[in-house]
Subunit: 342 residues, 2 copies
DNA sequence: CCAGTGCTGATAGACGTCTATCAAAATTTG
DNA sequence: CAAATTTTGATAGACGTCTATCAGCACTGG
């Protein structure tokens, strides 16, 4: 009924409290034989240290640093706002969160920031990654300095981070493909794509999933090479608008990142009879409006609040060296149509 | 940098530790004037009690009871398995979870179980509700005895529970309607519906949302009155099979609850050329298979693991009397197509 | 066998809060 | 104004773990 304590372990192993403590916090000065006796007692009693008591005693604090891209990306703004709220709540659990920003799409700046982080000041880092070797190297060095690292929203495959919190972007792309394919059923034509930048991993992955599905399941449609919008609505509006005007056979648009406002503006400029199905990413005030007025058919969304919570949770469990490591629920891709807006 | 403690509060208010403690745990024997001085100090210092230390000191434990329907509903089985795992993990936070089962669709049995719960043994209850007045009364009595109560998966509107953890079922129904309507685009005909039982709130709500959307957005389709499958796959297969055979104009099926296996079996019996779009609820091994082989077009899903976690979290925060009450993230309706299965 | 290590035990105090008890002070009552 | 009562303060010990220090014991090598 009541959990075993270190006292019980000491008694069961026939050693003193001090020795149990030395084993638990692996300090040296314990013979191998004694150590294993203690570990055995721990195992047979099913002892698990009371984290609350331990943290209380050592005045543990979790100092986390979140690194976000700076810029006009409205999803990132939403994420930052959620982070601010969660940071306030996290204080109650002795978790102090600092937010840093680096220019978007700038791997060098990100790597430099990572290099500047001091393990005396920071225990764990969550970052929206830019995909570059220089960043991978910086991550490895940071880990070597004893700092926990996870990626957030945009992953960094092959790097020595300890986890990723975000949606499965290949799956998101597949979802988009499946929806757009079905929405275009009965018509045959060309599909336009808009990305933020192919330098960001998440967009590259979405494109991959999208093309997979369209090629295999909807071979009657033809894909056009994606535009790079670079989070700039005017650029997106102009380029996509030109593409749509030039090619009357475009019947579908997939926008895989920021720039929804530009997409919507390009579409409202079309002649009345033209029917284009549109799937975009991220629910924002603009995409919401476009969904309601029928300009967009579906919006794929990731819940940034949940992502922030997940990253905090994951970092904390890594810092506690919990075993088994806490299983953080994957973030689902949410799908919004005009009729199920929250 | 470091949080204020009761010592700081005592000093700021010019009273002793004992008095601060009396105020914090509202024991009596404190003059109103003194109390308000202490409260003022708490406010100005921004003091928040260290829950970990408090719980350690009073050996607090959270004794929760989860009430699930018994039967062959495979979503409920999945939920039960998730609950078992989460219960094991929750032990680490001094949360002891007991699982109870009552016959499905049996409001009397549920009410009786609620009545039998002893506040000496249970601090909080999470239940999959059956919608009936007798249950509402039992909930009120339970609350009056000082037990926290939340509903899980299926809500009980108008009852004195302190929260609901589950998806928004009206929205889920709307989503289903929107998807099925779009999938049937270009064809006109009749839509069949299968529910578990209209006595369960979630199915009633899904139907509502579904009909709203179909009536207003897709008036070209005609709705047929729903079959009640009562979680019985054979019954569903027979009744839906008969309906499909008798009415060749049925082009869509919405199944709003258990019985996916029966739905799939009814559909595979159809002649080769017949094209019926199908949307069902809950991702299970059967619905997954049906999605992959093209029998189903979409599956709406709720993440039972997340629901269990949410209910535990919510109950704990209610028992801590936290203010502001913890905001538990709403459970999103997940949408699966053949191409985005996890 | 003696000095120098290495290992182990005992003890004390801390973390922030709770509970209990008793004494002292302040207030009310008669 | 004394007695009764209420309010307040002081103190001690607990919760489970951590850290530090010191003493003693068991080894090892010379």
């Amino acid at each position: 009924m009541t959990r075993p304590t270190i006292h019980d372990v000491a008694r069961a192993a026939g050693v003193s409290l001090s020795t149990v403590d030395r084993v638990l916090n692996d300090r040296d000065g314990v013979r191998e034989k004694t150590r294993s006796r203690v570990l055995e007692a721990i195992g047979s009693l099913g002892f698990e240290r009371n984290l609350a008591a331990a943290n209380l005693s050592r005045k543990r604090r979790y100092r986390l640093c979140f690194i976000l891209p700076d810029g006009q990306n409205s999803f990132m703004h939403a994420l930052e706002a959620d982070l601010a709220e969660e940071a306030a709540a996290a204080l109650r659990d002795f978790t102090v969160i600092e937010t840093r920003k680096v220019p978007a799409f700038d791997a060098g700046a990100l790597a430099e920031l990572l290099r500047s982080l001091d393990p005396e000041t920071v225990d764990g880092v969550a970052m929206v990654a830019t995909d570059a070797t220089i960043v991978r190297v910086a991550v490895r060095e940071l880990r070597a300095r004893g700092v926990a690292v996870v990626t957030l929203v945009s992953d960094l495959p092959g790097a020595e981070k300890q986890g990723f919190v975000g949606i499965d972007n290949v799956q998101a792309g597949r979802t988009a493909g499946s929806l757009l394919g079905r929405f275009c059923r009965g018509r045959t034509g060309r599909i336009a794509m808009v990305s933020g930048s192919m330098l960001v991993r998440d967009h590259a992955e979405r494109r991959l999933g999208f093309e997979q599905v369209l090629r295999t399941e909807f071979p009657e449609q033809t894909l056009i090479a994606p535009l790079e919008g670079l989070d700039d609505k005017d650029r997106v509006r102009d380029q996509l608008g030109a593409q749509l005007a030039a090619d009357p056979e475009i019947i579908g648009v997939y926008s895989m990142g920021a720039g929804n406002r530009g997409v919507a503006e390009a579409l409202v400029g079309l002649p009345a009879g033209r029917d284009v199905s549109v799937v975009v990413h991220e629910l924002t005030p603009y995409s919401r409006e476009a969904l309601l007025d029928g300009t967009f058919d579906a919006v794929l969304h990731q819940n940034s609040r949940r992502e922030v919570q997940g990253a905090i949770q994951l970092l904390r469990s890594l810092l506690d060296a919990q075993f088994p490591p806490l299983f953080v629920q994957p973030i689902p891709v949410e799908i919004y149509l005009r009729d199920n807006l929250p």
